[in-house]
Amino acid sequence: MQAPAEKAARLEPATLGGGMLPDWAPYGVIAGSMLFAAALLAATGAFSVALLLVVSTVVSCLTIYAWSRAVEGRRRALDRLVTFAIIAAFALALTPLLSLLFEVVKRGLPGLSWEFLTGTPRGVVGGGGAAHAIVGTVVITAVTAAISVPIGIMAAIYLTEYGGKGRLRRALTFFVDVMTGIPSIVAGLFAFALFAIFLGPGIRLGLMGAVALSVLMIPIVIRSSEEVLKIVPNHLREASYALGTPKWRTIVKVVLPTAFAGLVTGVMIAIARIVGETAPLLVTTGIVDSINTNPFEGRMQNLAVYAYSEYRTPGVMKQASYDRAWAAALTLIAIVMILNVVARLIYRRYKTEIR
């Protein structure tokens, strides 16, 4: 990097006095603008955190532009203005995430109790827990994974190891893209239509939910598995062939173990994606208030639908129902976060170093 003075001289050769803002300028402007905005809002009596952030953002953008324009010239001023605007946009984009996490924890904790995790609403007036929903979530997710993971990984193996440039490969790549775009409610309707035709329209099963979720999970598994299988270096395969190993044993003993950490990570992130799905389960698994562990028989509750129905049809004690809805939301977010973080840790810890 060159000295700041040189840089400024090159940018604005025409203005002899063309200087450079001090290094602390952006931070100073932001701090000053916040103070100014706080004072302004306090003076007008319309103080709120949201308004403070909006006003201070606008003020700091204007200030840095004016100051830089006076000292550094038009082009540098515009550069600083855009940088400020982009940072502000990034902060704005992350505000919902922070607010959401904060609110879910704040509103979810009161409802989160031992009773919530172990009890069911069966026979309890206006109360009970969500054990039936937690069990249902686990069963439905397990069945979904049992359907999606083998199909998804075998299809990815087909794409990377067997497909070549054939027509099936191209069709598959294309339709997996199509499949990623299927709205979750449409996947639910598909599972409903499939089972309704054979078993009658009143049918609601845990298995139906798992079929619907598989439509959503399979393409995610294929995409992530394909990515990690692709980066297994060819010299490993060639070395294995050179020893006379058949292709399928090469895949099972060389390719898959090399890609194992990536495969596990991909599957866990795919599970995190579908574990909170509500819409497809709303139309396939029904609503019930006792524990059901058999996906092949009877209705099955799950956390996401539980949260929705506690909100939609609150009992006599409205707030208690809302508390349970938030507690279910908190539990879901916790599951999703744990899956995401653990998946990344596994990848970092166990990935095969490929040279």
């Binding site: 550069d79 984009a93 992350l94 919902p96 959401l100 709205p183 329209p201 819409a279 709303l282 939301a329």
Partner: protein, 316 residues
Amino acid sequence: MHADTTTNAGQILAAASGGKRRWGDRIFSNLAVAAGVTILALLAGVALFLLIESLPAVSADSARLPEGKSLVDYIAPLAFGTVLAATIAVLIAVPLAVAVALFISHIAPRRIVLALGFLVDLLAAIPSIVYGLWGIFVLGPAAVPMLEWLEKKLGFIPFFEGPASSTGRTMLVAGLVLAVMILPIVSAVAREVFTQTPRKLQEGALALGATRWEMIRMTVLPFGKSSIISGAMLGLGRALGETMAVTIILSVSGIVTFNLISQANPSTIAANIALDFPESSGLAINTLIASGLVLFAITLVTNLGARAIIARQNIQ
């Protein structure tokens, strides 16, 4: 390509090494092909079964359908609401997503880039039911002053005609929540391409004295233009099909209006299914499935458009 030569080598070796081993190979490769075919069959099944189950609604007399309307009259307002909500979401999300992508790819310090990417990905990982609860209990009430301000100051524009909702359960708030939900998708697609902008272009621009913004405007943005468009279309596809957040947030009344801030809003196809399906039976279910088929068709066209743009860009 490398993969082909090894495939051939593998086949030749397998062929040369006798019958016993070829059995395993044959079973394994058939399994792989079967998995591929299963997926194609599954997708064909989605279209086929939806079609079969919606046929009764297509052929039925309109008096027997829900609300006594013809199928087209029933679905059209829903389709309008779907497109309206998704359009608002895309208009809000795309500029923000581009800024987020630029921030991560070109402005943020290298050390924190990974962490920032993880944060943005988290937005995509949050279940839509949670977005729905957050939208109605937190964002909706918080947005009421903004809606009132819009009505007062910009009420002459039909979008903000009012009367402003007192609960925040409006099209604009639903669109905002959808925008948050699709932002990570759009920004991931854009970021991917922004980071691939050829270094020599970027460094050339800087060497000629461009500021960072001028460099971005002259090299990164033109290079990533089609990725922004395709990302926006992928986001649009997601927003069109998003169900729970809209179901919870929007207070619906089945009308067709461009008024974004009032209590009376058109519903969306997906939200309508989620609301009505659990209590429906008979022809009403067939009607809902027919509307689902329409939604499937709309998202399919949108996604294919996005993929076509991405494919054309990859060729270049």
